[in-house]
């Protein structure tokens, strides 16, 4: 059985289901209660669960993310909403120096079953401080798990796993996807971390993507199909752990790869994936791995410049053609 729902509704329903099931789940964040949530993910949660479980916080990312880590250490299961991931940088010390490392430097005495969630990446004309994609930053740190759902089914499956796991999860949503619809399996649909999904099969070129870029990759694959090029599209679902195996298995057949990310090119997720391909499938490649990324600039405000700074379907098509030595 599967029902069609939106990315936002999948988030809401999964959070509710776990809150109903497990009294240890508490929510913290700015304007998640009375205001109903900036993106209305937590609308009605306050009246349903009360102020002890739905905690409106001051604008103190360091304070409330740190407090959530402390709650997790004591056995609660806090879910923090960051209004956008840009603001998580205010809590970088808490996330990177405490959440990521506590299990290790306590010699395994403490664990941090914490989920931090919210929208990552560009919106529309939000300019430099509100448009960043921070997945590479967080995926760099051992001790963190990084989920990058692309579809409502991903949201439900990955969030269930996050909420039942024992490690801190960086759960990167995308605001542009909140209204996207898709089929979501009912029942226990938890998706294990580190298992990519092949969204479309093809024999000519492998396109690796995650989060919103998966949708661009699928559109590009449609266009390529009309040219007679069969692109295989892989949705990574999580960056840490990263399912290199599925990528390599695909490249073994296609001998070509395009990796897509919204963030800046240097030191990004695409570089990591390209490196894995070159380490494990060097002899199988018929062309250099292509990277499609955002422009290496702070995000501009003007709409025309912003569009130039973001990756588009056409960039993926062009990159795929290059790997096939076509114009």
């Amino acid at each position: 059985m599967a029902a069609v729902t939106t990315y936002r509704e999948a988030l809401r329903a999964t959070l509710m289901e776990e809150m109903d099931r497990n009294p240890a789940v508490v929510l913290l964040g700015e304007d998640i209660g009375v205001y109903q949530g900036t993106f209305r993910i937590t609308a009605d949660f306050l009246s349903r669960y009360g102020p002890r479980r739905v905690i409106d916080t001051p604008i103190s990312e360091l304070g409330f993310i740190g407090a959530a880590i402390g709650m997790a250490m004591l056995g609660l299961r806090p879910v923090v909403e960051v209004m956008t991931w840009n603001f998580s940088l205010l809590a970088a010390d808490q996330i990177l120096n405490n959440a990521a490392k506590l299990r290790y430097f306590s010699g395994g005495q403490v664990e941090v079953p914490l989920v931090i969630r919210g929208p990552n990446g560009a919106g529309v004309q939000l300019s430099a401080q509100h448009s960043q994609s921070l997945e590479a930053l967080y995926a760099h740190f051992p001790g963190l798990l990084v989920a990058v759902p692309a579809t409502p089914a991903d949201v439900r499956g990955l969030l269930l796993t996050a909420l039942r796991g024992r490690d801190p999860v960086i759960f990167l949503e995308n605001a542009a996807l909140y209204g996207v619809k898709g089929e979501v399996p009912e029942g226990d649909a938890a998706l294990p971390f580190g298992q990519a999904e092949v969204m479309r099969y093809g024999r000519d070129v492998t396109v690796v993507a995650y989060s919103r870029m998966v949708h661009l990759a699928l559109a590009a694959a449609e266009q390529l199909a009309r040219e007679g090029v069969e692109a295989e599209v892989i949705n990574l679902r999580t960056l840490r752990p990263l399912d290199g195996e599925t990528v390599i298995r695909s490249v073994r057949r296609t001998h070509r790869a395009v990796v897509v990310q919204e963030q800046w090119k240097p030191f990004g997720a695409a570089a990591e994936i390209a490196a894995i391909i070159s380490e494990e499938a060097f002899d199988l490649l018929d062309a250099p791995v292509e990277r499609v990324t955002g422009a290496d600039v702070p995000m501009p405000y003007a709409r025309n410049l912003e569009l130039l700074a973001l990756p588009h379907e056409q960039d993926i098509v062009t990159a795929a053609r290059r790997t096939l030595y076509r114009q």
Binding site: R52, L102, G107
Partner: protein
């Protein structure tokens, strides 16, 4: 706000009251902690201990006074000057020393070192290396204790230097908010040893009445003489009972002094004079408690000598244990990054 500063009450011939009798084992523990720090510094000089090493000598009465009244199921957090806190809570000195030596038998299996002693079984939630970084954790932990329907409380030790960071003000404001609903049973204990590394309090904050800084966040507060174990313990007993009862946070500024350098690697201390250090040694917390116990007839020369020897033996055994313990096996490198 009740500001209290008192000298140690030396009352010749005064009868031993219950507090004094109960203080005797704490005198012994403070001797062990002091000796522990001395031997740790020696081992550091011998190259047996690496990294940073921050000694608690001079400040013992603060942690001892509070931990003396903490219930076994209560919890506490502190910063990186954390060896004595563990010892006072009952963590074997062997485990702490072995940690400093980077051994498998250390408190955290040789993975954290001096700054990250943990003993969760005894309610000690660490041991943190980033100044102020543990204050949000302790605040959230206190919320969790109440959320879970218990009457357990949380102590959060912090230094004067931490109070100028956002890591202090953000969670303490939240504690003030949560306290209104009785949801934050925490005692913040500022160990004001007068220097943030080498920067004196009056050079780092315009408001040197540190206790008063909690007032702007709606938290009741007071100042105690951090050299006087009996005074700290009396305050701690009253304050912890109140916090347990109300679920509201409370803050204490314990005025104290660090005899040792900031870190064992600091050979020079250009920020303070030898005379100042010597003057504070006259108010050595162990000496003050010893005087009070002698005055009450609970200690004499012979007993003091015996307890000192015992402390030496405990610490010598800890050093031997650390030296003889194996290093962590290579498999330990990748363990405890994620849940097994």
């Amino acid at each position: 706000m009740a500001t209290k500063r008192g000298e140690a009450k030396v009352r010749p011939g005064a009868p031993a009251d219950a507090d004094l009798t109960a203080a005797l084992p704490w005198y012994r523990l403070m001797l062990v902690a002091r000796r522990f720090e001395e031997e740790a510094e020696r081992a550091f000089r011998r190259g047996k201990i690496g990294g940073y090493l921050h000694l608690y000598s001079g400040q013992e009465a603060v942690a001892a006074g509070f931990l003396a009244v903490l219930r076994p199921d209560d919890i506490f957090f502190t910063a990186y000057r954390d060896h004595a806190h563990a010892i006072f809570r009952g963590t074997p000195a062997e485990a702490v020393m072995a940690e400093l030596f980077g051994r498998q038998t250390g408190a955290v299996k040789g993975k954290g070192g001096s700054m990250h002693i943990f003993d969760v079984g005894r309610g000690f939630y660490g041991g943190y290396g980033i100044v102020g970084g543990h204050i949000p954790l302790a605040t959230g932990a206190a919320y969790a204790l109440r959320y879970q329907g218990t009457d357990r409380i949380c102590l959060c030790f912090l230094g004067d230097g931490a109070m100028n960071s956002g890591s202090f003000h953000e969670p303490v404001n939240m504690a003030g908010l949560w306290g209104r609903d009785g949801m934050c049973p925490i005692v913040y204990i500022v160990e004001n040893n007068r220097y943030a590394m080498g920067t004196a309090v009056d050079r780092s904050t315009a408001v040197t009445d540190l206790a008063s800084k909690f007032g702007i966040h709606g938290i009741a507060h007071e100042r105690v003489d951090g050299q006087d174990f009996l005074e700290v313990q009396r305050a701690a007993r009253r304050i912890t009972a109140q916090v347990r009862e109300t679920g509201r946070p409370y803050a204490v500024e314990a005025v104290t002094y660090r005899f040792a350098a900031h870190g064992a690697a600091d050979l020079f201390q250009p920020y303070r004079t030898k005379e100042e250090v010597e003057a504070w040694k006259a108010r050595d917390p162990i000496l003050l408690l010893e005087q009070a116990l002698r005055a009450a007839g609970l200690l004499d020369d012979e007993r003091v000598e015996e307890l000192r020897r015992e402390a030496e033996e405990v610490v010598a055994a800890a050093v031997r244990y650390a030296e003889e313990s194996p290093e962590p096996p290579p498999e330990e490198l990748t363990r405890d990054v994620y849940a097994p």
